[in-house]
Assembly symmetry: C2
DNA sequence: ATGTCTTTTGATAGTTACTGTCAAATTTTA
DNA sequence: TAAAATTTGACAGTAACTATCAAAAGACAT
């Protein structure tokens, strides 16, 4: 039998996914109520009814409970679904915007709250920016494939770097202006990059 | 008497600066010999002949002993020294390249080693990227002043974000290719940004 | 169902980065 | 030299992690 699609796959897997979600939910709530630093892993574990050791088995670090997400695969799919006549930059822009457009109102609200927390708390921001370097590498690979270049080609790396940098600036601004529309901010910023950074 | 200009300012200040430099030197050596994580603050303190509590009085975190630098003021000076007919992007490019050109061979070698360590060790990379957001804000302010816009103008923010992103991509590449010339890498990357991110 | 095998869990005992406090030592100032 | 201000080190504590290991729970063959 294939190891991946066994009809929601055994009780074990289901329980793990459920536990993970429960822990993340309680963590987010506690962070909101007490603040990130004032919340201990012990408190999160207690609220989620697991032991602290189990917490660290699910999440290697306290930060991870908030930062873990799966946007990268979504981005890949959206990027590869873009029409081939678009330039790489237009394709990235379309992919990011459509990925956001596909989110539910609930997901958007959670994302906003997460972004606010992450950009506000130095440890979280640092870890988050760090993980963006992986996304940068990913974008370089996507762009390389689309243009027939190598991922470590200078133009490709610069392209990926600029896009990640623009994302960072948008995330920071959005954290301070939560009433703005993230998709619009990102779309406008990437279009400015496309237009040649006219200043 | 004014508390700030007292002619090289007392024995105390000089001793502090000296202690700081000694600690940083020993820390860098120990990190090189033992690895970052395997080196404890206690070991650094012992090598520098201070107490651990004193270490934390000088550096709020262990990361800080490696990350603290003063490139921002250098960048500001270099930027404002750029001829006024240059575009903001050309000015930033000129400023960064000339700031590197002004460094001694020793400084360059130290910078290379630091960059390698920082980009290699996840904690250090995270903290370093985090501090780059300050530089991003700084660039936004410089660009805003030069163009008569506000620092939180969308075009200005996007400009600063793209530049920081390009810097990140160059730093990552440089860490894996230490024999390259950092100034050249950065110059080429920023010129690609200037040319409109042609892919 | 039963027993066996494998995976997951929780308890326990560390290590280490970092914080707070206070008295002793050192530098500055009068 | 005496007094005031600052720096230092010792001590005690917190909390994020790590390693280990026995017990509990799920998977599986018979």
């Amino acid at each position: 039998m294939s190891p991946d699609d066994k009809r929601t796959m055994g009780l074990r897997e289901r329980k793990k996914a459920k536990t993970m979600a429960v822990v993340q939910m309680h963590a987010l709530r506690l962070f909101r109520e007490l603040g990130y630093n004032a919340t201990t892993v012990e408190q999160i574990a207690e609220a989620a009814e697991i032991s602290p050791s189990t917490f660290f088995r699910y999440f290697p670090t306290k930060e991870d409970v908030l930062l873990r997400d799966n946007y990268d695969p979504v981005l890949v799919d959206a990027f590869e679904a873009q029409p081939s006549h678009l330039s790489p930059l237009q394709a990235v822009r379309g992919a990011m915007v459509s990925a956001i457009a596909d989110m539910s109102a609930d997901e958007l609200a959670t994302m906003r709250e997460r972004n606010e927390l992450i950009m506000t708390v130095p440890e979280l921001r640092a870890a988050s920016l760090n993980s963006l370097t992986q996304t940068m590498q990913l974008i370089a690979e996507l762009a390389a494939k689309r243009t027939g270049r190598e991922p470590d080609d200078a133009a490709v790396r610069t392209f990926a770097g600029a896009i990640i940098g623009v994302n960072i600036s948008v995330m920071l601004y959005y954290a301070e202006h939560p009433d703005a529309d993230f998709a619009v901010l990102l779309d406008e910023a990437l279009s400015k990059l496309e237009a040649g950074l006219l200043l």
